[in-house]
């Protein structure tokens, strides 16, 4: 029940031990009250707060809670948010994700300076964002130019525009087809695994039993 005290080591342990992004988000949520009691005026605590809030911010993004991620930035100590480089990077990332500016998203993730403890979660988010975008463009586009696909997926659009074989190979590896004549890629919709909702079947059986009881 009692959580170990919040510290940089504890945060690193939480990030490495969480088996799913949802678990990471839940554990970090439980620490928000403790973080709220720390002072951003104290330099040691400010460093811990910066790491905590940045990690918590990424846990929102990894669980696709964009609105909540935005709201969480309003709950952070506003002085810290304005001056801390990591939190400023988070704000830039949020703006890019919110506005669906794909180039900027990859730019922020790859080019802005992230502190060492944050690098693993930044890389996890980049992989997550790329995979999510791939699923979305597979559903949204029937045919797409390689340069556009490259922009969405954080690949080099200039080489992709020249139908560079490496880029095309990367995209066809996802099951897309390449029409050399038209110079267009045809994405293959990604079908989600439907075997995840046994719980729903059980609940439905309960509903049917309930209706049965009412009739008798």
């Amino acid at each position: 029940m009692d959580l170990p005290p919040l510290s940089q080591q504890q945060l690193a342990a939480i990030v490495t031990s969480a088996s799913t992004p949802a678990e990471l988000y839940r554990t970090l949520s439980d620490y928000e009250a403790e973080a709220c009691l720390l002072s951003s005026q104290d330099s040691n605590q400010a460093e811990l707060l910066s790491l905590y809030y940045s990690t918590f911010f990424f846990s929102h993004l990894l669980t696709d809670q964009i609105y909540e991620a935005r709201i969480s930035t309003k709950r952070m100590p506003q002085g810290l948010l304005q001056h801390d480089p990591s939190l400023q990077n988070c704000l830039n990332l949020l703006r890019a994700v919110w506005q669906r500016k794909y180039e900027q998203v990859y730019q922020v993730l790859r080019e802005l300076p992230w502190s060492d403890p944050l690098k693993p979660i930044v890389q996890s988010y980049e992989a997550y964002f790329q995979e999510k975008t791939l699923k979305e463009i597979s559903k949204a586009y029937e045919a797409i130019r390689p340069a556009a696909a490259a922009t969405y997926l954080g690949l080099d659009p200039v080489t992709a525009a020249q139908a560079d074989s490496t880029t095309v190979q990367k995209l066809t590896a996802y099951g897309w087809t390449w029409d050399q004549e038209t110079g267009l890629l045809h994405p293959k919709p990604v079908v989600e695994d439907p075997q995840k909702d046994d719980r729903l079947y059980n609940e439905l059986s309960e509903v049917m039993a309930l209706i049965g009881n009412r009739r008798s």
């Binding site: 009691l37 709201i71 669906r100 029937e142 045919a143 909702d197 729903l200 609940e203 439905l204 309930l210």
Partner: protein, 499 residues
Amino acid sequence: MAELLSHVTSVSSRLRSVDKISDDRYDCQLRDLVTYIKQSDKNFDSEYLLNNLNPSHHTLSYLLMLNFKIKYLQNKRRTVLPEELKPGNDLWVKAVLFFRTFDPIQVRYAGGEWRQLIEIIGQAAEATAKPFLAVQVIRDAMLRLDPSSGILTSVHIIFLRLSLLSRSYSYALPVIGKPVIWFPTGSVQAYKKYIEQPLCSELVSMDSLLSDSFGFSAKLTYRDHTQYFLYGAMVYMALKEWDKSLHWLSIVISSPVNDSVSKIMVEAYKKWVLVSLLGHGKLVTAPKIISSHVLKVFQSLAKPYLSLSEAFERNDLQRLRLEADVGQSIWRHDNNEGLVSQLFHAHKSFLFLKLGRTFSALTAADVAQQAFTPLDSSSKIEEFVAALVMSGSLRATLVHLHGRGNGTMLHFSRLPEPYITRERCMRTQLAKEGRALEIITNGADQCSNELMMGNENLQLVSKNQKWPDTLGKDGCNIIGEADGGGYEIDEDIMGDNSK
């Protein structure tokens, strides 16, 4: 002090389960404990006692001692919020520990003290500009006391207010996601005195503790009721769950009225106009339960909002901008600026949905002609449309064209969603409705029993028993009707004859 400690620790939830103490005996022990602590000499060292009590085993003693200590400090320092109660300080930590671990059975004997502690925690967090700190604690305490959270109490209102103040909207969902089916009552039904179980019995459900006399809720007013649903709607607005927000707002605007509507209802109606535009692209029909004169009052008091909605629905972007600019001070005054600013994006999105109903395919250039200003570049249009399609708001596909520069074609989809997606949505919806149905049927059963055994019905039965000709002309007995027996024949007639 050791003697006092041994007395207040003599009643423990752990000992009860080990010694298998009967409900009646445990009930007596708990009542005696309350009397003992309340009547004892107040010179005891509550600090020592609190440090030696386990809040999960000795919940009742711990709660009463904590309240005693708070009152003592309030009197000593002559302030409602002594320093020790502020977040992070000694009494705050003890209160948080209590709310995380208390025994929901023992706490039934001190409902008033439980609520007072919640209230003071909320005040302390708000006074130090850290309302968030109270949100998690109060939420966990509410769900620990009543996991169904189906009874509206004054604590619900405090909790939602703090959630809004601290912008911790998603933290409120575990509470507001549960349907409210009971309201605290001022009196206890007479029949309960005869079939009453000891308060500590597992058979006593939370709704039996509804009466104001148990103290879990302060007396609720009409204003509290409407305020709770308005707050809940605002939480859903912040999370952009428009349909849920509309539902909560519709509860507020359709609340019963005598002569005049309340200010909260008018505020809710204004938000209801904006939320229906954001969620449905049009002003949805007002609930039929609202009488026409009330609706007219709403409409006359929310004229600027209705003008805005008219411009929105007529796809008149220029007028929409004009109305939004002209009414700026009104939106600011009503705290609706945020909602109004979202109308422009929503307007564009709904234009696309409308285009999809007219056309089956359009090029980006055609889209600019139909929905945007011709000055918008085709790449900007594609960006906007792609965002709508990729987020799932618009059912369409995009096709990059070969040999036409950077041309893009938009195909609006009329095909139903894939079978798997539809089935999964349907199953989720059914399971959700099923859960709600279960809660409502249980509530309806209980309500029916309450009505049958309620004071009014018992009075009627007793009055009828005094008359020898209680049996009606058709030979049907009122008592029979009251227990549902009078309707059995109807049910048989309507039954399946093929059986």
